[in-house]
Symmetry: none
């Protein structure tokens, strides 16, 4: 066991510090609206060498996935909570509202969430777990006739990313997020 047994990663203390610093800077860049994630620039801002960044994240996509991992953890927590909801439809709505909010705040996360192919197995696993939770909610809700039958969990995931896309394309920030999500939720009900 490592001296400090931090989060279970087998990293030397300084390596872990560098990795965290890089992730932090990358997050800041995204927050500033720069989604190019240039590894050179990030290295400079993080005060580490480019090589260090490349050691930890062999390419831009790996960094992006790492960045979204913690978002994914939050999402999974919410998904588990939603699964415990008595009212499946309410749980689903709550979960999607949460997911949309997170995706809007972190475009990189949205990209990973909607991507059909992942760079790291861990990402695929998290995505699968999320889909499983949604699928369960969908199934339960369908028993009460509240959800259409031609929609699966991955459809919902993609549709949500589509909604996020629509919200973002507006000039007025996230002002329309609530309404657009309402359209999606209503659209998921069986056609009249």
């Amino acid at each position: 066991m490592t001296p400090k047994a931090e989060q279970g990663t087998g990293l030397r203390a300084d390596a872990a510090r560098n990795r965290a610093r890089v992730l932090q800077v990358a997050r800041e860049q995204l927050a500033l609206g720069d989604d190019s994630l240039q590894l050179n620039a990030i290295a400079r801002l993080a005060g580490v060498g480019v090589g260090t960044v490349y050691r930890h994240f062999p390419n831009r996509h790996a960094l992006r996935e790492a960045l979204s991992a913690e978002r994914f953890q939050e999402l999974l927590a919410e998904a588990r909570a939603a699964a415990d909801d008595e009212d499946a439809l309410a749980g689903l709505h709550r979960l999607l509202r949460f997911a949309l909010d997170r995706a809007l705040h972190d475009p990189g996360f949205a990209a990973v969430l909607e991507s059909a192919s992942d760079a790291e197995a861990r990402t695929s696993a998290m995505k699968a777990e999320y889909d499983r939770a949604v699928a369960e909610l969908l199934d339960r809700a369908r028993c009460t006739g509240a959800i259409r039958h031609d929609i699966a969990a991955d459809d919902v995931r993609r549709l949500l990313c589509g909604i996020e896309h629509a919200v973002r394309s507006g000039a007025d920030g996230s002002a329309r997020a609530g309404v657009y999500l309402g359209v999606l939720l209503e659209g998921l009900r069986p056609p009249r």
Copy 2:
């Protein structure tokens, strides 16, 4: 008067030929999945000098807008037809189905359709005309209680692009387009 008075553009015959060639090559590149639209490469493929491309299209965006202009014309024709439909809701559905189909076939067109800022005034004009047609349909459909009240024409345009995004993010081509569009159309009805 010019000998051939072709399509009313005030271009010399050879200039028009070059312009068309460039557009043609650009379309092919997009069809091949390369949406970078590198003016250098396009010039080479079109067999014209770089300067020629730059003369006709000062930047990549201008080229993209020019490419989508014809798509837009088709869309406007359909919009006018839909406006004549007795059944406003049916007309709207038909129009959105058409728009989604076109956007899926031409990602550049989708991008222009959803963009909040245009490079050329003509694009903005076409977008406005499309929005007007949709707004009219929405209004008429709302009279029969078929459409929710918190949605405007530009919302519909963005939501449609969101749907397009969702369809495209799937691994199975446009297979889910019908279902996803169904979700949108249903979602546009007033909440139960």
Copy 3:
């Protein structure tokens, strides 16, 4: 003889008009501080084709010389007047003051004035005539011991352009022109 017998150039009326328009625009560009004299841009601003500009002025230098020709005429007029001055030194001072003023107002003219090689014979001829007038003044002034012996007319021309350069390099416009010219005039006297 041509119908309008303008300035003796054997140009058709429209050709002469175009030539004048080009020169006018070029002058304006220089006045605006753009001394790049791009033939393309000038053609556009003058409302003529590039080819027309090239017909009249095969290259940038020819245009520059043409531009300075009228300045040169003014300068020659002043030189003749100065030559008539009883007081040779006073005449020289007056002439140099005039030349400096003109050079400061027209950098292109300054460039032609100082250049050691001309594109057109006419320019060389005017330059020679100017130098002759200055040489005469120098000679007459030297009789009264007012001018050093190691300086010829072309030296004076170059030194004046040097002064012009010094004035222009200052941040405060032509504010120091008078003083700098004073330094030159004093420096032309025999060393004490």
Copy 4:
């Protein structure tokens, strides 16, 4: 401490070598009469990548200033020596003669010397130090009535560059440098 602790620059050995190589090539290009300083061409001639040149010198002007920095150091050394001269006027003459010589040998240096705006603070600092030294000499010389009162150090700097310009514009190399400098020095004395 680095093994060789070369000239105090905080550069890695290979980086310093490359930087020197680039400067060397740039100097050669200037010596060959090509003052365009094209970073691409210099990179090729120096046998380094373009990026290397851009890393050391972000733009042409930075390179030019770096090139003139060493010239400036020589000039400052001479200025300090001149300041120690008993005879202020003699010191000034000596210093200006030296400066003219250097400016004539290095047109880039002349350009930096006369420029009203510098890209690097270090250049401005050196220029200011040079002006200080000249100002001191002027003041001391003025006490003996040897220098006119309407001339400051930066005027002298500009006038010297003007003289350099005049010398260079002649067809016969630097043959007239001595005489032209004599005119300036004489012109700096109070008017009779």
